[in-house]
Amino acid sequence: MATEKKQNFDIMNHELVPFHTILSDHEKGELLKKYHVETNNLPKILDNDPVSVFIGAKPGQIVKIVRKSNTAKEAISYRLVIESE
Protein backbone atom coordinates (compact mmCIF):
# COMPACT_ATOMS: atom_id res chain seq x y z
CA MET A 1 0.00 0.00 0.00
CA ALA A 2 1.38 3.36 -0.98
CA THR A 3 2.14 5.57 1.99
CA GLU A 4 -0.35 8.40 2.11
CA LYS A 5 0.89 11.91 2.52
CA LYS A 6 -0.24 13.21 5.89
CA GLN A 7 -1.41 16.75 5.95
CA ASN A 8 -0.28 19.03 8.70
CA PHE A 9 -2.80 21.20 10.41
CA ASP A 10 -3.06 23.33 13.41
CA ILE A 11 -5.77 22.29 15.84
CA MET A 12 -6.13 25.83 17.11
CA ASN A 13 -7.78 26.78 13.83
CA HIS A 14 -10.49 24.16 14.12
CA GLU A 15 -14.00 25.53 14.33
CA LEU A 16 -14.62 23.88 17.66
CA VAL A 17 -11.48 25.15 19.37
CA PRO A 18 -11.79 28.63 20.86
CA PHE A 19 -8.90 31.04 21.28
CA HIS A 20 -6.54 30.16 24.16
CA THR A 21 -3.73 32.25 25.67
CA ILE A 22 -1.57 31.88 28.76
CA LEU A 23 -1.94 34.66 31.31
CA SER A 24 1.18 36.43 32.53
CA ASP A 25 1.86 36.50 36.27
CA HIS A 26 0.66 40.07 36.48
CA GLU A 27 -2.60 39.30 34.66
CA LYS A 28 -3.06 36.24 36.84
CA GLY A 29 -2.83 38.31 40.00
CA GLU A 30 -5.30 40.84 38.65
CA LEU A 31 -7.76 38.15 37.66
CA LEU A 32 -7.71 36.50 41.08
CA LYS A 33 -8.18 39.88 42.72
CA LYS A 34 -11.00 40.93 40.42
CA TYR A 35 -13.13 37.84 40.99
CA HIS A 36 -12.05 37.16 44.60
CA VAL A 37 -11.12 33.59 43.78
CA GLU A 38 -8.23 31.27 44.37
CA THR A 39 -6.67 29.38 41.50
CA ASN A 40 -8.31 26.16 42.69
CA ASN A 41 -11.78 27.58 42.22
CA LEU A 42 -11.31 27.91 38.47
CA PRO A 43 -12.24 25.19 35.99
CA LYS A 44 -9.28 23.04 35.02
CA ILE A 45 -7.48 22.04 31.87
CA LEU A 46 -5.04 19.14 31.85
CA ASP A 47 -1.43 19.77 30.91
CA ASN A 48 -1.59 16.97 28.32
CA ASP A 49 -4.66 18.46 26.68
CA PRO A 50 -3.85 18.91 22.97
CA VAL A 51 -4.36 22.65 23.29
CA SER A 52 -2.17 22.97 26.40
CA VAL A 53 0.57 21.07 24.63
CA PHE A 54 0.24 23.32 21.61
CA ILE A 55 0.46 26.60 23.50
CA GLY A 56 2.97 25.20 25.98
CA ALA A 57 0.95 25.70 29.14
CA LYS A 58 2.53 24.36 32.34
CA PRO A 59 0.76 23.28 35.54
CA GLY A 60 -0.05 26.26 37.73
CA GLN A 61 -0.54 28.66 34.86
CA ILE A 62 -3.91 30.06 33.94
CA VAL A 63 -5.25 29.87 30.40
CA LYS A 64 -7.59 32.54 29.15
CA ILE A 65 -10.22 31.29 26.73
CA VAL A 66 -12.24 33.53 24.46
CA ARG A 67 -15.24 31.47 23.50
CA LYS A 68 -17.56 32.18 20.67
CA SER A 69 -20.97 32.27 22.25
CA ASN A 70 -24.38 32.23 20.68
CA THR A 71 -25.85 34.35 23.39
CA ALA A 72 -23.13 36.88 24.10
CA LYS A 73 -21.07 36.61 20.90
CA GLU A 74 -17.90 36.44 22.92
CA ALA A 75 -17.45 35.01 26.39
CA ILE A 76 -14.24 35.00 28.33
CA SER A 77 -13.41 32.08 30.55
CA TYR A 78 -10.35 30.89 32.45
CA ARG A 79 -8.94 27.47 33.19
CA LEU A 80 -6.20 26.46 35.56
CA VAL A 81 -3.63 24.09 34.08
CA ILE A 82 -3.27 20.99 36.24
CA GLU A 83 -1.05 17.97 36.02
CA SER A 84 -2.64 14.92 34.50
CA GLU A 85 -2.46 11.70 36.45
Binding site: Q7, F9, L16, R67, T71, R79
Partner: protein, 450 residues
Protein backbone atom coordinates in the same frame (compact mmCIF):
# COMPACT_ATOMS: atom_id res chain seq x y z
CA UNK B 1 -21.64 20.13 -15.55
CA UNK B 2 -21.09 17.79 -12.66
CA UNK B 3 -24.82 17.15 -12.42
CA UNK B 4 -25.34 15.00 -15.46
CA UNK B 5 -22.24 12.92 -15.25
CA UNK B 6 -22.48 12.06 -11.60
CA UNK B 7 -26.10 11.01 -11.85
CA UNK B 8 -25.34 8.42 -14.45
CA UNK B 9 -22.10 7.31 -13.00
CA UNK B 10 -22.79 6.21 -9.52
CA UNK B 11 -26.15 6.40 -7.94
CA UNK B 12 -25.18 4.67 -4.77
CA UNK B 13 -22.43 7.00 -3.79
CA UNK B 14 -23.29 10.40 -5.07
CA UNK B 15 -26.73 11.60 -4.33
CA UNK B 16 -27.85 14.81 -5.91
CA UNK B 17 -30.03 16.70 -3.59
CA UNK B 18 -33.27 18.07 -5.01
CA UNK B 19 -33.94 21.73 -4.35
CA UNK B 20 -37.25 20.95 -2.69
CA UNK B 21 -35.73 19.25 0.29
CA UNK B 22 -33.89 22.41 1.22
CA UNK B 23 -36.63 23.62 3.52
CA UNK B 24 -36.98 20.45 5.48
CA UNK B 25 -33.23 20.30 5.76
CA UNK B 26 -33.10 23.68 7.40
CA UNK B 27 -35.50 22.64 10.09
CA UNK B 28 -33.95 19.26 10.56
CA UNK B 29 -30.30 19.94 11.03
CA UNK B 30 -29.20 23.14 12.58
CA UNK B 31 -25.59 22.15 12.50
CA UNK B 32 -25.22 21.97 8.76
CA UNK B 33 -27.16 25.11 8.05
CA UNK B 34 -25.04 27.06 10.44
CA UNK B 35 -21.89 25.96 8.76
CA UNK B 36 -23.25 26.69 5.36
CA UNK B 37 -24.41 30.15 6.31
CA UNK B 38 -20.82 31.10 6.93
CA UNK B 39 -19.92 30.30 3.39
CA UNK B 40 -23.08 31.36 1.61
CA UNK B 41 -22.62 34.18 -0.79
CA UNK B 42 -26.01 34.37 -2.43
CA UNK B 43 -25.51 31.95 -5.28
CA UNK B 44 -27.35 28.70 -5.39
CA UNK B 45 -25.61 26.59 -7.95
CA UNK B 46 -22.29 28.27 -8.22
CA UNK B 47 -19.93 28.07 -5.37
CA UNK B 48 -18.38 31.32 -4.15
CA UNK B 49 -15.88 32.85 -6.50
CA UNK B 50 -13.09 34.98 -5.21
CA UNK B 51 -14.28 38.19 -6.88
CA UNK B 52 -17.36 38.30 -4.67
CA UNK B 53 -15.25 38.02 -1.59
CA UNK B 54 -13.32 41.13 -2.49
CA UNK B 55 -16.43 43.23 -2.96
CA UNK B 56 -17.80 42.15 0.35
CA UNK B 57 -14.50 42.86 2.01
CA UNK B 58 -14.62 46.44 0.76
CA UNK B 59 -18.07 47.02 2.15
CA UNK B 60 -16.97 45.40 5.36
CA UNK B 61 -14.03 47.76 5.64
CA UNK B 62 -16.18 50.86 5.39
CA UNK B 63 -18.65 49.45 7.86
CA UNK B 64 -15.90 48.40 10.17
CA UNK B 65 -14.59 51.94 10.42
CA UNK B 66 -17.97 53.26 11.40
CA UNK B 67 -18.50 50.35 13.74
CA UNK B 68 -15.21 50.98 15.44
CA UNK B 69 -16.00 54.64 15.95
CA UNK B 70 -19.31 53.93 17.59
CA UNK B 71 -18.19 50.98 19.64
CA UNK B 72 -15.30 53.09 20.91
CA UNK B 73 -17.76 55.68 22.00
CA UNK B 74 -19.88 53.05 23.68
CA UNK B 75 -16.88 51.73 25.54
CA UNK B 76 -16.15 55.25 26.73
CA UNK B 77 -19.65 55.57 28.11
CA UNK B 78 -19.52 52.09 29.60
CA UNK B 79 -16.39 52.99 31.53
CA UNK B 80 -15.76 49.88 33.65
CA UNK B 81 -19.24 48.44 33.36
CA UNK B 82 -19.74 45.27 31.39
CA UNK B 83 -22.09 44.61 28.52
CA UNK B 84 -21.86 41.50 26.32
CA UNK B 85 -20.38 41.99 22.87
CA UNK B 86 -23.64 40.92 21.23
CA UNK B 87 -25.54 43.78 22.87
CA UNK B 88 -22.89 46.31 21.93
CA UNK B 89 -23.02 45.05 18.36
CA UNK B 90 -26.79 45.32 18.24
CA UNK B 91 -26.64 48.88 19.50
CA UNK B 92 -23.97 49.93 16.99
CA UNK B 93 -25.96 48.39 14.19
CA UNK B 94 -29.05 50.32 15.13
CA UNK B 95 -27.16 53.55 15.56
CA UNK B 96 -25.52 53.21 12.14
CA UNK B 97 -28.92 52.69 10.54
CA UNK B 98 -30.52 55.58 12.33
CA UNK B 99 -28.15 58.50 12.77
CA UNK B 100 -30.58 60.44 14.96
CA UNK B 101 -29.89 57.95 17.73
CA UNK B 102 -26.27 58.99 18.04
CA UNK B 103 -26.74 61.89 20.45
CA UNK B 104 -28.91 59.67 22.64
CA UNK B 105 -26.21 57.04 22.92
CA UNK B 106 -25.52 57.85 26.53
CA UNK B 107 -29.14 57.28 27.50
CA UNK B 108 -29.36 54.09 25.48
CA UNK B 109 -26.33 52.64 27.18
CA UNK B 110 -27.42 53.48 30.70
CA UNK B 111 -30.84 52.00 30.01
CA UNK B 112 -29.42 48.82 28.52
CA UNK B 113 -27.02 48.45 31.42
CA UNK B 114 -29.98 48.70 33.74
CA UNK B 115 -31.93 46.08 31.79
CA UNK B 116 -28.91 43.84 31.54
CA UNK B 117 -28.37 43.88 35.29
CA UNK B 118 -32.05 43.14 35.84
CA UNK B 119 -31.78 40.05 33.66
CA UNK B 120 -28.66 38.60 35.24
CA UNK B 121 -29.27 35.59 37.43
CA UNK B 122 -29.36 36.52 41.10
CA UNK B 123 -26.51 35.56 43.39
CA UNK B 124 -27.26 32.28 45.22
CA UNK B 125 -29.93 31.34 42.73
CA UNK B 126 -30.05 27.57 42.17
CA UNK B 127 -29.17 27.68 38.48
CA UNK B 128 -28.38 23.96 38.40
CA UNK B 129 -31.85 22.99 39.53
CA UNK B 130 -33.42 25.41 37.07
CA UNK B 131 -31.28 23.93 34.32
CA UNK B 132 -32.16 20.36 35.31
CA UNK B 133 -35.85 21.11 35.29
CA UNK B 134 -35.67 23.06 32.06
CA UNK B 135 -34.07 20.14 30.26
CA UNK B 136 -35.95 17.45 32.17
CA UNK B 137 -39.47 18.70 31.67
CA UNK B 138 -39.44 18.87 27.86
CA UNK B 139 -37.33 15.71 27.99
CA UNK B 140 -40.39 13.78 29.12
CA UNK B 141 -41.97 14.62 25.78
CA UNK B 142 -39.22 12.96 23.82
CA UNK B 143 -40.17 10.00 21.75
CA UNK B 144 -38.87 6.61 22.59
CA UNK B 145 -38.63 5.95 18.88
CA UNK B 146 -34.91 6.05 18.64
CA UNK B 147 -33.97 5.40 15.07
CA UNK B 148 -34.39 8.34 12.85
CA UNK B 149 -32.51 9.53 9.90
CA UNK B 150 -30.88 12.83 10.74
CA UNK B 151 -29.87 15.08 7.93
CA UNK B 152 -28.41 12.39 5.76
CA UNK B 153 -30.96 9.97 4.48
CA UNK B 154 -28.96 6.77 4.41
CA UNK B 155 -27.13 7.03 7.69
CA UNK B 156 -28.91 5.81 10.76
CA UNK B 157 -28.31 7.96 13.81
CA UNK B 158 -29.48 7.49 17.37
CA UNK B 159 -31.66 10.40 18.31
CA UNK B 160 -34.03 11.46 21.01
CA UNK B 161 -33.79 10.42 24.61
CA UNK B 162 -31.23 7.62 24.14
CA UNK B 163 -28.89 10.03 22.38
CA UNK B 164 -29.34 12.66 25.09
CA UNK B 165 -28.53 10.07 27.75
CA UNK B 166 -25.51 9.04 25.74
CA UNK B 167 -24.22 12.60 25.62
CA UNK B 168 -24.76 13.21 29.31
CA UNK B 169 -23.20 9.85 30.21
CA UNK B 170 -20.05 10.79 28.27
CA UNK B 171 -19.86 7.34 26.68
CA UNK B 172 -16.52 6.51 25.20
CA UNK B 173 -18.06 5.38 21.93
CA UNK B 174 -21.48 6.58 20.78
CA UNK B 175 -23.86 3.86 19.61
CA UNK B 176 -23.97 5.32 16.13
CA UNK B 177 -20.75 7.20 15.46
CA UNK B 178 -20.91 9.50 12.49
CA UNK B 179 -18.74 12.12 10.86
CA UNK B 180 -19.36 15.16 8.71
CA UNK B 181 -16.28 15.43 6.58
CA UNK B 182 -15.85 18.71 4.77
CA UNK B 183 -13.38 19.07 1.95
CA UNK B 184 -10.84 21.68 1.01
CA UNK B 185 -11.65 24.14 -1.74
CA UNK B 186 -10.18 22.23 -4.67
CA UNK B 187 -11.78 18.98 -3.61
CA UNK B 188 -15.26 20.07 -2.71
CA UNK B 189 -16.05 21.31 -6.21
CA UNK B 190 -15.10 18.26 -8.18
CA UNK B 191 -16.99 14.97 -7.87
CA UNK B 192 -13.96 12.97 -8.95
CA UNK B 193 -11.63 14.45 -6.36
CA UNK B 194 -14.31 14.07 -3.69
CA UNK B 195 -14.64 10.42 -4.59
CA UNK B 196 -10.90 10.00 -4.43
CA UNK B 197 -10.85 11.34 -0.88
CA UNK B 198 -13.83 9.18 0.02
CA UNK B 199 -12.01 6.09 -1.21
CA UNK B 200 -9.08 6.94 1.02
CA UNK B 201 -11.39 7.17 3.99
CA UNK B 202 -13.84 4.33 3.51
CA UNK B 203 -12.54 0.98 4.63
CA UNK B 204 -12.12 -1.45 1.76
CA UNK B 205 -11.66 -5.09 2.58
CA UNK B 206 -10.14 -7.63 0.24
CA UNK B 207 -13.46 -9.42 0.07
CA UNK B 208 -15.07 -6.28 -1.41
CA UNK B 209 -12.77 -6.05 -4.40
CA UNK B 210 -11.80 -9.64 -5.10
CA UNK B 211 -13.06 -13.20 -5.05
CA UNK B 212 -11.13 -15.46 -2.75
CA UNK B 213 -10.98 -19.09 -3.76
CA UNK B 214 -9.34 -21.72 -1.64
CA UNK B 215 -8.02 -24.71 -3.54
CA UNK B 216 -8.16 -27.44 -0.93
CA UNK B 217 -6.50 -30.17 -2.96
CA UNK B 218 -3.35 -28.21 -3.80
CA UNK B 219 -3.48 -26.11 -0.59
CA UNK B 220 -3.28 -22.78 -2.38
CA UNK B 221 -5.54 -19.75 -2.38
CA UNK B 222 -6.34 -17.73 -5.45
CA UNK B 223 -7.37 -14.11 -5.10
CA UNK B 224 -9.24 -13.02 -8.17
CA UNK B 225 -9.56 -9.24 -8.27
CA UNK B 226 -12.62 -7.72 -9.83
CA UNK B 227 -11.45 -5.06 -12.25
CA UNK B 228 -14.60 -2.97 -12.04
CA UNK B 229 -14.73 -2.69 -8.27
CA UNK B 230 -10.98 -2.14 -8.17
CA UNK B 231 -11.35 0.92 -10.33
CA UNK B 232 -14.33 2.13 -8.34
CA UNK B 233 -12.44 1.87 -5.10
CA UNK B 234 -9.33 3.38 -6.64
CA UNK B 235 -6.87 0.56 -6.01
CA UNK B 236 -4.76 -1.68 -8.21
CA UNK B 237 -3.83 -5.32 -8.15
CA UNK B 238 -0.29 -4.38 -7.12
CA UNK B 239 -1.62 -2.63 -4.05
CA UNK B 240 -3.63 -5.71 -3.16
CA UNK B 241 -0.54 -7.85 -3.53
CA UNK B 242 1.44 -5.55 -1.29
CA UNK B 243 -1.12 -5.65 1.50
CA UNK B 244 -1.47 -9.42 1.19
CA UNK B 245 2.29 -9.80 1.55
CA UNK B 246 2.07 -8.23 4.99
CA UNK B 247 0.44 -11.39 6.34
CA UNK B 248 3.06 -13.56 8.02
CA UNK B 249 4.16 -17.02 6.95
CA UNK B 250 2.73 -16.90 3.45
CA UNK B 251 4.00 -16.15 0.00
CA UNK B 252 2.01 -14.30 -2.65
CA UNK B 253 2.74 -14.14 -6.36
CA UNK B 254 1.05 -12.50 -9.27
CA UNK B 255 -0.06 -15.08 -11.85
CA UNK B 256 -1.79 -13.61 -14.88
CA UNK B 257 -4.53 -11.55 -13.28
CA UNK B 258 -4.81 -13.66 -10.19
CA UNK B 259 -2.82 -13.58 -7.01
CA UNK B 260 -1.59 -17.00 -5.96
CA UNK B 261 -0.99 -17.52 -2.27
CA UNK B 262 1.07 -20.41 -1.00
CA UNK B 263 1.73 -21.28 2.63
CA UNK B 264 5.22 -21.63 4.11
CA UNK B 265 4.30 -24.91 5.74
CA UNK B 266 1.05 -26.06 4.19
CA UNK B 267 -1.70 -27.65 6.21
CA UNK B 268 -5.42 -27.84 5.85
CA UNK B 269 -6.16 -25.94 9.05
CA UNK B 270 -3.74 -23.13 8.33
CA UNK B 271 -5.16 -22.68 4.88
CA UNK B 272 -8.58 -22.06 6.33
CA UNK B 273 -7.10 -19.63 8.86
CA UNK B 274 -5.39 -17.65 6.13
CA UNK B 275 -8.58 -17.71 4.11
CA UNK B 276 -10.41 -16.07 7.00
CA UNK B 277 -7.77 -13.38 7.54
CA UNK B 278 -7.77 -12.66 3.81
CA UNK B 279 -11.49 -12.02 3.83
CA UNK B 280 -11.09 -9.45 6.58
CA UNK B 281 -7.90 -7.92 5.22
CA UNK B 282 -7.91 -4.15 5.04
CA UNK B 283 -6.75 -3.00 1.64
CA UNK B 284 -7.43 0.68 1.89
CA UNK B 285 -9.12 3.20 4.12
CA UNK B 286 -9.36 4.06 7.77
CA UNK B 287 -10.30 1.71 10.57
CA UNK B 288 -13.76 2.37 11.92
CA UNK B 289 -15.22 4.08 8.87
CA UNK B 290 -17.75 1.56 7.69
CA UNK B 291 -19.65 3.37 5.02
CA UNK B 292 -19.49 6.63 3.18
CA UNK B 293 -21.97 8.82 1.44
CA UNK B 294 -21.06 11.75 -0.75
CA UNK B 295 -23.62 14.45 -1.13
CA UNK B 296 -23.75 17.68 -2.98
CA UNK B 297 -24.89 20.43 -0.70
CA UNK B 298 -26.03 23.73 -2.14
CA UNK B 299 -23.41 26.47 -1.76
CA UNK B 300 -20.89 24.06 -0.26
CA UNK B 301 -20.13 21.48 -2.91
CA UNK B 302 -19.44 17.88 -2.07
CA UNK B 303 -19.55 16.81 1.54
CA UNK B 304 -18.72 13.36 2.82
CA UNK B 305 -20.83 11.75 5.53
CA UNK B 306 -19.52 8.65 7.15
CA UNK B 307 -20.90 5.89 9.27
CA UNK B 308 -18.33 5.17 11.92
CA UNK B 309 -15.84 7.68 13.18
CA UNK B 310 -12.10 8.09 13.49
CA UNK B 311 -11.32 11.77 13.89
CA UNK B 312 -7.58 11.37 14.41
CA UNK B 313 -7.00 9.63 11.12
CA UNK B 314 -9.55 11.41 8.96
CA UNK B 315 -8.12 14.83 9.75
CA UNK B 316 -4.77 13.68 8.39
CA UNK B 317 -6.12 12.68 4.99
CA UNK B 318 -5.14 15.04 2.23
CA UNK B 319 -8.08 16.97 0.86
CA UNK B 320 -10.12 16.88 4.06
CA UNK B 321 -10.72 20.29 5.56
CA UNK B 322 -9.27 19.71 9.04
CA UNK B 323 -10.82 22.86 10.42
CA UNK B 324 -14.48 22.08 9.82
CA UNK B 325 -14.69 18.31 9.93
CA UNK B 326 -16.51 17.06 13.01
CA UNK B 327 -17.74 13.88 14.59
CA UNK B 328 -20.46 13.05 17.08
CA UNK B 329 -17.95 11.12 19.19
CA UNK B 330 -17.46 13.50 22.12
CA UNK B 331 -14.56 11.65 23.70
CA UNK B 332 -12.67 11.66 20.39
CA UNK B 333 -13.14 15.41 20.07
CA UNK B 334 -11.79 15.81 23.60
CA UNK B 335 -8.81 13.66 22.76
CA UNK B 336 -7.91 15.34 19.50
CA UNK B 337 -9.02 18.93 19.92
CA UNK B 338 -9.01 19.49 23.66
CA UNK B 339 -11.44 20.06 26.47
CA UNK B 340 -12.87 23.32 25.15
CA UNK B 341 -13.75 21.73 21.83
CA UNK B 342 -15.40 18.90 23.76
CA UNK B 343 -17.46 21.45 25.64
CA UNK B 344 -18.56 22.94 22.35
CA UNK B 345 -19.50 19.61 20.83
CA UNK B 346 -21.50 18.63 23.94
CA UNK B 347 -23.50 21.83 23.64
CA UNK B 348 -23.97 21.39 19.91
CA UNK B 349 -25.00 17.75 20.10
CA UNK B 350 -27.33 18.12 23.07
CA UNK B 351 -28.95 21.20 21.62
CA UNK B 352 -29.46 19.61 18.23
CA UNK B 353 -30.89 16.44 19.77
CA UNK B 354 -33.47 18.49 21.64
CA UNK B 355 -34.16 20.68 18.61
CA UNK B 356 -34.71 17.62 16.46
CA UNK B 357 -37.59 16.62 18.69
CA UNK B 358 -39.08 20.08 18.50
CA UNK B 359 -38.13 20.97 22.02
CA UNK B 360 -36.93 24.48 22.62
CA UNK B 361 -34.56 24.43 25.56
CA UNK B 362 -32.52 27.54 26.16
CA UNK B 363 -28.91 27.05 25.19
CA UNK B 364 -27.71 28.46 28.51
CA UNK B 365 -29.03 25.45 30.43
CA UNK B 366 -27.14 23.10 28.16
CA UNK B 367 -24.04 25.28 28.44
CA UNK B 368 -24.21 24.83 32.20
CA UNK B 369 -24.38 21.06 31.81
CA UNK B 370 -21.39 21.14 29.47
CA UNK B 371 -19.49 23.38 31.86
CA UNK B 372 -20.03 20.97 34.74
CA UNK B 373 -19.06 18.00 32.62
CA UNK B 374 -15.78 19.56 31.52
CA UNK B 375 -14.93 21.48 34.69
CA UNK B 376 -12.06 19.30 35.88
CA UNK B 377 -10.26 19.06 32.56
CA UNK B 378 -11.61 15.69 31.44
CA UNK B 379 -15.06 14.80 30.21
CA UNK B 380 -17.04 13.54 33.15
CA UNK B 381 -20.43 11.89 33.05
CA UNK B 382 -23.34 13.22 35.02
CA UNK B 383 -24.44 10.47 37.36
CA UNK B 384 -23.04 7.74 39.54
CA UNK B 385 -19.71 7.39 37.79
CA UNK B 386 -19.16 11.07 37.26
CA UNK B 387 -20.25 14.30 38.84
CA UNK B 388 -22.70 12.90 41.43
CA UNK B 389 -20.37 10.12 42.50
CA UNK B 390 -17.45 12.45 43.08
CA UNK B 391 -19.09 15.03 45.27
CA UNK B 392 -17.03 15.99 48.28
CA UNK B 393 -19.86 15.60 50.76
CA UNK B 394 -20.58 12.11 52.15
CA UNK B 395 -24.22 12.73 52.95
CA UNK B 396 -24.85 14.10 49.48
CA UNK B 397 -23.31 11.04 47.85
CA UNK B 398 -25.20 8.73 50.17
CA UNK B 399 -28.44 10.50 49.36
CA UNK B 400 -27.88 9.91 45.66
CA UNK B 401 -27.21 6.20 45.26
CA UNK B 402 -25.76 3.17 47.08
CA UNK B 403 -26.30 4.77 50.48
CA UNK B 404 -24.79 2.11 52.70
CA UNK B 405 -21.58 1.72 50.75
CA UNK B 406 -20.86 5.42 50.78
CA UNK B 407 -21.51 5.77 54.49
CA UNK B 408 -19.39 2.72 55.27
CA UNK B 409 -16.48 3.88 53.13
CA UNK B 410 -16.67 7.38 54.59
CA UNK B 411 -16.62 6.11 58.17
CA UNK B 412 -13.62 3.94 57.40
CA UNK B 413 -11.77 6.87 55.95
CA UNK B 414 -12.94 9.25 58.66
CA UNK B 415 -14.43 11.80 56.28
CA UNK B 416 -15.78 15.10 57.49
CA UNK B 417 -18.91 16.68 56.03
CA UNK B 418 -18.86 20.44 55.91
CA UNK B 419 -22.63 20.62 55.30
CA UNK B 420 -22.14 23.02 52.43
CA UNK B 421 -24.54 21.60 49.88
CA UNK B 422 -28.28 21.17 49.53
CA UNK B 423 -28.86 17.50 50.27
CA UNK B 424 -26.75 17.49 53.43
CA UNK B 425 -28.58 20.42 54.90
CA UNK B 426 -31.98 18.94 54.17
CA UNK B 427 -30.90 15.73 55.90
CA UNK B 428 -29.82 17.52 59.07
CA UNK B 429 -32.72 19.97 58.93
CA UNK B 430 -30.92 23.22 58.39
CA UNK B 431 -31.74 26.03 56.00
CA UNK B 432 -30.16 25.29 52.64
CA UNK B 433 -27.28 27.46 51.52
CA UNK B 434 -29.22 28.84 48.56
CA UNK B 435 -31.35 31.84 47.71
CA UNK B 436 -32.68 33.42 50.87
CA UNK B 437 -30.97 30.70 52.88
CA UNK B 438 -27.61 32.03 51.77
CA UNK B 439 -28.00 35.39 53.44
CA UNK B 440 -28.03 36.10 57.09
CA UNK B 441 -29.86 39.07 58.48
CA UNK B 442 -28.83 41.03 61.49
CA UNK B 443 -31.45 43.16 63.13
CA UNK B 444 -30.51 46.61 64.20
CA UNK B 445 -32.21 47.39 67.51
CA UNK B 446 -33.41 50.86 68.18
CA UNK B 447 -33.20 51.56 71.84
CA UNK B 448 -35.74 53.99 73.13
CA UNK B 449 -34.47 57.06 74.73
CA UNK B 450 -35.79 57.49 78.21
Amino acid sequence: MPKKTSKKEDKRQIIEKPEKSEKTKVIKSVKTTKKISKKIIKSKEKIPVKKDDKKIEKIDLIQNKENLKISEEINKILNDNFLPASIIDAITERVIKDKTLEPKLNQIITKSLEEYKKNLIDPSEACGIIGAQSIGEPGTQMTMRTFHYAGVAEINVTLGLPRLIEIVDARSIPSTPMMNIYLRDEYRLSPDLAKEVANKIEITKLNDVADIEADLTNLVIYVNPNAKTLEKKGTTTDELLESIKKIKKIDAKLEKNKIKITLDDPSYKKLLDVNETLKDLKVKGIDGIKRIIIRKEPSEGYVIYSEGSNLEKVLEIEGVDPYRTTTNDIQAVGRVLGIEAARNIIIQEAYNTLREQGLNVDKRHIMLVADVMTADGSIKAIGRHGVSGEKSSVLSRAAFEITVNHLLQASRRGEIDELGGVAENIIVGQPVNLGTGAVELVMKRITKKV
